[in-house]
Amino acid sequence: MTGTHEAGVVSPSEHTPLVSGANGDIAADLDITNEQQLRYIAGQAADARVNIELETEGMTLNIGPQHPATHGTLRIVARLDGEQVISAEPIMGYMHRGYEKLTEVRTYPQVTTLINRIDWVGSFANEVPFILAAEDLMDVEAPPRAQYIRTALFEMGRIANIMLFLGDMPVQLGGVTAIFYAFRDREFVLNQIESATGGRFHPNFNRIGGVKDDLPAGWIKETKTAMQKVRDFCDEIEDLVMGNEIFQSRCRGVGIIPPDVGKAYGLSGANLRASGVDWDLRRDADSPLAWKDLDWKVWTHPDGDSFSRFWVRLQETRESSYMVEQLLDGLPSGPIMAKVPRIIKVPAGESYVQTENPLGAMGYYVISKGELTPFRVKIRTASFSNMSISPWLLEGVYVPDIATILASLYFILGDIDR
């Protein structure tokens, strides 16, 4: 502490810092003179005066939380200048259900039931990374037939999810017919999931060590018919939506994400692949599921705009339908459940498993202390990271483009808010 401090009296020529807290040494270390501080304050004041004079009145528009364009309760506070967006900020959390806290007091089968509801359209895909993490901790591997069934249902969940997107994005842009075709043809896929698992959206079919039950007779043939309908639907959407000049002029060049920006913001899934980054966890991560046995390709697109995100997802849907057919053709016979004790106590340890969910990369970080319930589960969801790019992306676009960009990023609120 240097010198005496009489209230309000400071001699400018001294080296006495204006800031002095409990550790006055900090201020001394920083070696800020009074003059520098006063000059700084004066500069800020001048800046503020200029800002007020030049500032045009912008309109603050609240999009949501109740709004047809946002897939749920997302609120976007946009400051507009006429029809152009100056800044847009998403405010999430209206649907937070406390999943990570809930898992601390639920046993593993109960957690499997709950996490079905995170990305509620991608049904089966939510359970898989959690079960894989638990199997990793228990050092148990599911038999090959179970892995094939899991992969088939995973891909069917992906198909159901992306078909909704293929219908929903045109609706956001004004073409109301596509979504009815999407729901109509999605029914076939959901019926197949229901006849195998009992639930259309929340199958709850995975168990640690395998799947709950085997496939009913006739399922393989029916599913192949459903996959053909999926491909017909993709062709229809290509004709109705993708080839449409109005759709292309609304989407091409809108919301371009350069690949390095995408990677920096943690994007994943089709959003990243549409910027040209060749990254797919089904191929690149070492997963016990059956993707490595299949013959498939990863679709990427060099532009990073909204149209390419739509295009990539359409191709992925077709690819998934072929993958399901390959899986069902090559389904090995055998048991569907490995030997696990009746009461599941996962041994102590930590495990993180990430899979390529329909919305992106979803991961579960499971910490177990050897009890019936997990100690902590951290859920890394794809949509949360996908939304983080929206303030950067929505700067300077027109108001209609907000709808286009948000629709093309494709998030589900349950996935963002958990």
């Binding site: 046993t107 006849s195 698992t197 639930g199 009913p216 080839g243 000049e245």
Partner: protein, 180 residues
């Protein structure tokens, strides 16, 4: 030949769907949109869900020993069980009287139920079964609590165990015969 503009192909798709909906049997037969559209006109026409659909839970209370496993494992705690111990006559003459659990109350609150199926899985005595019935809406929430007799009634709607696909090692099970 120049490429047909996308606008025109789009019009073609909607026109094709229009004709398929209105004339599902071809242009020579009279229009039948109720048949061509994909709408199922519930409640005049009912669609049957698949056999495994998780509609409602049925209880076969002959098998139930009030072990409370289902009530414990339910994520929502929507099963209410009460039971008491009874002495049953010994199996052979001169033996010890057996202690049996008798079920007094078995209620499932379907307003809380998540339809997850953990109770059905976890039951060690195969007393709970899934039934694809889904039409049990009530006017009052209190009526959504199904008691023991109502749950036993649902047993009539439980379908027989279905056959499995080729290559399955799981065996089909038989449903228990209806309880008294």
């Amino acid at each position: 030949m120049p490429k047909v503009p996308g606008l025109v192909t789009g019009l073609g798709v909607t026109a094709k769907t229009f004709f398929k909906t209105v004339f599902p049997d071809g242009p020579t037969k009279p229009p039948a949109p109720s048949k061509g559209a994909h709408t199922v006109q519930y409640p005049h026409v009912k669609e049957a869900p698949p056999d495994r659909a998780r509609g409602v839970i049925a209880l076969h209370h002959d098998n139930c020993t009030a072990c409370m496993l289902c009530a414990r494992e339910c994520p929502d705690w929507c099963i209410y069980i009460e039971g008491h111990k009874e002495l049953a006559p010994p199996r052979r003459a001169g033996g010890k009287p057996r202690q049996k659990n008798k079920l007094d109350r078995f209620d499932i609150d379907f307003a809380l139920c998540m339809y997850c199926g953990i109770c059905v899985d976890v039951c060690p005595f195969d007393a709970l079964f899934w039934s694809p019935e889904f039409e049990f809406s009530e006017m009052k929430i209190a009526d959504m609590l199904h008691d023991k007799s109502r749950l036993a009634d649902w047993m009539h709607t439980v379908p027989e165990w279905g056959a499995y696909e080729a290559g399955a090692e799981v065996k089909t099970k038989k449903l228990p015969s209806p309880s008294s």
